[in-house]
Amino acid sequence: MSGGSAPGTGHTYSVPELQNIAKELRRDIIQTIYTAGSGHPGGSLSELEILIALYFRVMRYDPKNPGWPDRDRFVLSKGHASPGFYAVLSRAGFFPREELSTYRQLNSRIQGHAHPMTPGVEMNSGSLGMGLSFALGCALAARLDKKDYMVYALLGDGECDEGEIWEAAMSAAHHKATNLVAIVDRNRIQNDRFTDDVMALDPLDRKWRDFGWRVMETDGHDLDQLLATLEKARTRRTRPTAIIAHTVKGKGVSFMENNPGFHGRAPNAEEFQKAMEELA
């Protein structure tokens, strides 16, 4: 790899290198969930490029010092999509890759839903709608401490049904949290069914705009577009920024793609083999 990390300065991987990392980590996600026998593959696969762009190009952090006060913060609000998050965190050096096999097992620090006992995890999760409020708290702390870090919160689209998201959206604009970026993983599927069937969200861009946010949209799997959008979100900030990232639930595994059945279940042995062959 030509890239690498210097603590606190972020990585310099090229887009093709990031795409290779994505492929590698998709295999980690499937392996992790298959080993555990449970977990949420759909959202882990849809969010992956967003996390890769953040952790391997955009954010500054130090995996050897997860609590470094100047770090950019990432808050996984859709905490069920933890296998994707763990794959990225371990690849970024927060904990050894072997630990992924302990996911959901007794005495592991890799919990079913992301919890700060895992190095690199900021917030406890598992109940939807809370991450944007927490991220706003982190963003306001930066102002109090006169620090220039950014705070990124990744929200599910189904999660935007929660009223607290909109309480937080309203207050982030009110308190002028310009260092706060909300990214919506717009994969259009929630727990039971398609979001349009459970609770229609569109026009989602107008909702955020009307709550006082700057809104950007991007393909959530195209790393060039993602990087450009995230870069733009760091600059010329006068409001908090919402990025609606259009993604495919289950991305990369043909039979999981756009399939509500793989929101929250592990592949069986046959499905596991097939998924790993597709991701080879």
């Binding site: 917030m123 406890n124 944007l132 409020s133 927490f134 706003l136 702390a141 607290e164 937080a168």
Partner: protein
């Protein structure tokens, strides 16, 4: 016979105590939900606007932002009415605050029926039950303004989630100014060997009155002020059961999950003796606080009767 005590507002004391701590706790920030004048955090808001954040009546977000600030090294004091601060954002308190054990301080006023005229929806009679069910929380129910000052300062100094329960109405002052609050340690307010009245909050004053009435009938009642409900002073409660053989709990809270339940757990598991609970039996209504205290049976007379009953049940 019943002592005349000075009345003072614990919520006003709270707001004033925050101001006192501003310099010694540079990371202290105050968060409110549009009830700042009522909870007296407007004093802080007007003096330290850069360390104050209002979120309107949106308590889930209020607690969530507080958790983010706590995780970033700030010491958030989050305040509203007990019904809004505990009931509405209970899930945020559970997931964001209690489970990671963040350094988060929830101070709620307008607890219990002392909220009076606003009626049953405004009466926080379940807050202790709810908050004591969250494993990481330390829970304090001060008896008066003197204790409130020290409870608030203790919460700021100690790490971890704290809940402090305050009232709307002014309440009797039962402590001298030189009182020393000790977290987790019940205060022996009156010695006695015939029965123990274990009280918290405003019922400490009521129980001291009851003890006077019992003395007139030839019974010596011990009175314990259990200001810290969690972790509770088991030792003092067990000793009371052992040494006096009968216990009365007295609280301005629903009888499920509050002080009475805690005392029952402690003595039931260690030294079973007759226990009578003076507490709220259900929802109340709109009326003056003092009228509700009488109608709901939270009076010295009722505590005295409960003590006599507990004594009569001794083997």
């Amino acid at each position: 016979m019943v002592a005349q005590r000075k009345m003072a507002s614990t919520r006003q004391t709270y707001g004033e105590t925050l101001l006192e701590m501003a310099d010694s706790f540079p990371d202290l920030v105050v968060l409110g939900g549009d009830l700042n004048v009522s909870v007296f955090t407007h004093l802080w808001r007007d003096k330290y606007p850069e360390r104050f954040f209002d979120f309107g009546p949106a308590e889930q977000n209020l607690v969530g932002v507080g958790a983010g600030l706590a995780a970033s090294g700030k010491v958030p004091f989050v305040s509203t009415f007990s019904v809004f601060g505990v009931g509405r954002p209970f899930d945020q308190l559970r997931v964001l605050v209690s489970q990671p054990g963040l350094n988060f301080k929830l101070v709620c006023t307008h607890a219990g029926i002392l909220t009076g005229e606003d009626g049953m929806s405004a009466h926080g009679i379940e807050d202790l039950s709810l908050i004591c069910s969250l494993p990481s929380f330390t829970v304090i129910s001060p008896a008066d303004t003197v204790e409130t000052v020290q409870a608030v300062k203790t919460a700021a100094s100690e790490d971890g989630p704290f809940y402090i329960r305050l009232s709307r109405a002014a309440t009797p002052v039962v402590h001298d100014d030189d009182y020393e609050f000790e977290l987790g340690k019940a205060e022996l307010m009156r010695e006695g060997e015939d029965v123990t009245i274990v009280a918290t909050g405003v019922m400490v004053s009521v129980s001291l009155d009851a003890a006077e009435m019992l003395e007139a009938q030839g019974l010596q009642a011990r009175v314990l002020n259990v200001h810290t409900l969690k972790p509770v002073d088991e030792e003092a409660i067990i000793a009371a059961a052992r040494e006096t053989g009968a216990v009365v709990s007295a609280e301005e809270h629903y009888f499920h999950g509050g002080l009475g339940s805690i005392v029952a757990q402690v003595i039931g598991g260690n030294h079973p003796v007759p226990l009578e609970m003076v507490a709220l039996q259900g929802y109340s209504e709109s009326a003056k606080a003092e009228e509700l205290m009488v109608k709901c049976g939270l009076t010295a007379e009722k505590v005295k009767e409960a003590a006599l009953k507990a004594v009569s049940r001794k083997q």
